[in-house]
């Protein structure tokens, strides 16, 4: 990889940057520079993304025809399980925080690094060790419990490799905890002079909220998987009804983390959108404090709604009522964000660059995903569509339409800063368009399929569902193509792209005030901040009005 990053022969002297600070393998694997660690994460999560995508491809191929003719039912169970595990725990959760957050939080607050650079490197190694355990499980025959590991199937009945997969997720959880801890301490203690809490970019606010969830939620999934492991190894009957255990308790513990985990995936993407929209609308964020507080509100409310995954699991009906009501509350801060982004664009001078296309795609798709979430928070409707493709479509609108659109938007927005190179704008816009079309073609038919009653997690289905399934599979192929394109042209740009200036978008954040790519310690001198965030108004007006 380092060979790819060697600058081509040019007349100008090579710029000093974190990329030129060392070229050997050791200079990468033992680095404590948050920017290099971010790139280590970038390479690893890209690998897991395409691995998870491969499983998705096989799932969609099987569902092309009503008969279960491509893979055995057992294999199909393993495919959707491995797709979920890899995508959730090894791609979505680390994606934006560990790559973009790692790279840009210190730069945005004017710090030289995260508070704990060694811990940051350790978190990457922990992530990789967890990933290896899970890969081992994949290679040796996979897991078939679903990514949810519901007991007692996972603890007693399943004969697949539950234990190594659970250990892998347990270990990777600690990388998430370390990242969250590092971010919280960094944001509290490492801000440059003048960088007050309400001058922080909203990307930092949303990562602060995300870190709270990582720190408070991840230990619970860790102990839950530990209990599953103890039950499998020592027959301690925590969840097995035959031993006096309660399977519903497992679901409570599992969703106590796994529902907030949805916000670990989507809050950082909201942070990215909050950066992109003002930059390309040339306006200050409408209602900055509301957007900032909304991130924290989503993090807090996110911990109070886990029971909406259990409306049909034998949970008390009164509990169901409360979880339903609380789930509706999450819509409020989410809507605050959507309205404020829209209001930011209102009468702005919008330029349709690639990151902006992704941001607007995010706003639209997240809105659809969020509103269908309200259908599911409604008890009666949920009983009807529970465990159907409606659910699948809903959470893919949030996780793929939301989180991955945000991730790709962020990668395109900050690529000139990360690599110091410009990508081809035409090609990038084309890819954004392909991703948008492919995504909707894949997942919109699934809303209809689910409403008509097609259950999730079966490898065959009645023939009348075939047309919609063919549309979905066709969409998935387009989407897959759309995801390969950025991989190709971004790599291409590293060698052949034009050099980026330090601030190609004319953005206001501190990260744009240093060279592209940045030097190892980010800034030649520690910046002093004496301006408000997203100050896109003309300097004269600021001077006159304040």
């Amino acid at each position: 990889m380092s060979a790819e990053m060697t600058p081509p022969l040019v007349d100008a002297p090579p710029r000093e940057s974190f990329l030129t600070a060392g070229y050997g393998v050791k200079s990468w694997l033992l680095t404590r520079d948050h920017k290099r660690i971010a790139l280590l994460y970038l390479a690893s999560i890209t690998f897991f993304f395409f691995l998870g995508g491969l499983f998705a491809l096989l799932i969609r191929l099987e569902l092309l025809t009503p008969e279960g003719d491509l893979v055995q039912p057992e294999t199909y169970n393993k495919l959707f399980t491995m797709h979920g595990i890899v995508m959730v725990f090894f791609f979505l959760i680390p994606s934006i925080p560990a790559v973009l957050g790692n790279f840009f939080i210190p730069m945005m607050i004017g710090a030289k690094d995260l508070a704990f650079p060694r811990l940051n490197l350790l978190s990457w190694y922990v992530y990789m060790i967890g990933g290896l355990f899970t890969l081992w499980a994949v290679v040796h025959g996979g897991v078939d419990t679903g990514w949810t590991f519901y007991a007692p199937f996972s603890t007693v009945s399943s004969s697949s490799h539950v234990l190594p997969a659970a250990i892998g997720i347990f270990i990777t959880g600690f990388s998430s905890i370390l990242t969250g801890l590092n971010f919280i301490v960094t944001i509290h203690t490492m801000r440059a002079p003048g960088m007050t809490w309400f001058r922080l970019p909203l990307f930092v606010w949303s990562h602060y909220a995300t870190s709270l969830i990582m720190v408070l939620g991840t230990p619970v999934i860790a102990v839950t998987l530990l209990l599953v492991a103890l039950e499998r190894i020592f027959h301690l009957g925590f969840f097995d009804p035959a031993l006096g255990g309660d399977p519903v308790l497992f679901q409570h513990l599992f969703w106590f983390y796994s529902h907030p985990a949805v916000y670990i995936m989507v809050l950082p993407a909201m942070g990215v959108v909050s950066e992109i929209v003002p930059t390309f609308a040339r306006k200050s964020v409408f209602g900055y404090r509301f957007v900032a507080y909304a991130s924290v509100a989503i993090a807090v409310l996110g911990f109070l709604v886990w029971g909406h995954h259990m409306f049909v699991s034998g949970q008390s009906v009164y509990a169901g009522l409360f979880f339903s009501l609380l789930s509706f509350f999450v819509a409020i801060p989410s809507a605050v964000k959507v309205f404020n982004w829209t209001a930011t664009m209102y009468k702005g001078s919008i330029s349709w660059r690639t990151p902006m296309l992704y941001a607007i795609g995010f706003i639209g798709l997240f809105t659809i995903g969020g509103l269908t979430g309200l259908f599911l928070a409604t008890l009666g409707v949920d009983v009807h569509v529970h465990d159907t493709y409606f659910i699948i479509a809903h959470f893919h609108y949030i996780m793929v339409g939301g989180a991955i659109m945000g991730y790709l938007g962020g990668i395109h927005y900050w690529w000139p800063k990360i690599s110091g190179k410009l990508y081809s704008e035409g090609l990038a816009k084309f890819a954004a368009f392909v991703v948008f079309v492919g995504f909707n073609l894949t997942f919109f038919p699934q809303f209809i399929l689910g409403y008509l009653g097609m259950p999730r997690r079966y490898h065959s289905y009645p023939p009348e569902f075939q047309v919609l399934n063919v549309m979905s599979t066709a969409g998935a192929s387009i989407l897959g193509f759309g995801y390969v394109l950025p991989l190709a042209y971004l790599f291409w740009s590293m060698r052949y792209g034009r050099d980026a200036s330090s601030n190609p978008w004319g953005a206001t954040g501190l990260e744009w005030q240093t060279t592209s790519p940045p030097p190892t310690e980010n800034f030649p001198v520690t910046p002093v901040v004496d301006w408000e965030p997203y100050e896109y108004r003309p300097k004269k007006e600021v001077a006159a009005v304040g």
Partner: protein, 225 residues
């Protein structure tokens, strides 16, 4: 690296400042906050066990009470005392480091380690005793009377919770052992002793977990015969 003269205390403290921090104060604030945040994650981690305990105790309080009568109250009480004293010696170690007294520091750190080992030793005696009486859950579990399922759940939780606590003790002893070596080499000064301070926080936290485990596992329902 050949130094012309040994560093003064202030120069040594300054040499402990990592490149990305502005001041020692900022560095110390960061490490203290980090330990508190870490302890919050630990509370949530143990919280899963405490929740599980609460749910099953609620389901069969009498069965749990009968099962807990197999606990050795004397050993449990002695162990509680051992841990509380170890917290005292740890606190004295932090104080000695803050006031720059090396010999008491070494003595208190050593005492903390010894008390930690004493706790684990007594715990091992208790474990051996339980296993000897067929109280380890699984196919070999024996418990007279109708309370067998509840008792098996109780002992699942007992071994799970105290096992996790013991693991934290072992890690704690490793940390204090490292501090002891560093202190022996004179690495700590009143200006730079935050490793001892934050490790002390961790040690106290592990003690507090035991302060909750002891009544939950040994004391509640002892009067029910």
């Amino acid at each position: 690296m050949a130094e012309p003269r040994p560093l003064s205390r202030e120069e040594y403290a300054a040499s402990r400042l990592q490149h990305h921090f502005v001041s020692m104060e900022q560095q110390r604030d960061a490490s203290t906050l980090a330990m508190w945040v870490f302890l919050v994650t630990e509370i949530l981690f143990f919280g899963g066990f405490f929740l599980t305990y609460t749910v099953y105790r609620w389901q069969d309080p009498v069965g749990f009470a009968h099962a807990s009568q197999n606990m050795d109250i004397v050993l449990g009480t002695v162990n509680t005392a051992v841990l509380i004293i170890s917290s005292l010696t740890m606190a004295m170690a932090v104080h000695s480091a803050a006031t720059g007294r090396r010999k008491p520091l070494l003595a208190y750190l050593s005492a903390t380690i010894l008390l930690g080992f004493a706790f684990l030793g007594i715990k091992a005696v208790e474990y051996t005793d339980h296993i000897h009486h067929h109280l380890f859950p699984g196919p070999g579990f024996r418990f007279p009377g109708p309370d067998k399922p509840a008792a098996e759940m109780f002992f699942s939780l007992y071994f799970g919770m105290t096992g996790l606590h013991a693991l934290h003790m072992i890690i704690g002893i490793g940390i204090v052992g490292t501090l002891l070596v560093m202190a022996y080499r004179g690495r700590f000064t009143p200006e730079y002793h935050s490793p001892i301070e934050v490790s002390g926080l961790y040690w106290h936290f592990v003690d507090i977990v035991w302060i909750f485990l002891f009544p939950l596992l040994y004391l509640i329902g002892r009067h029910l015969k």
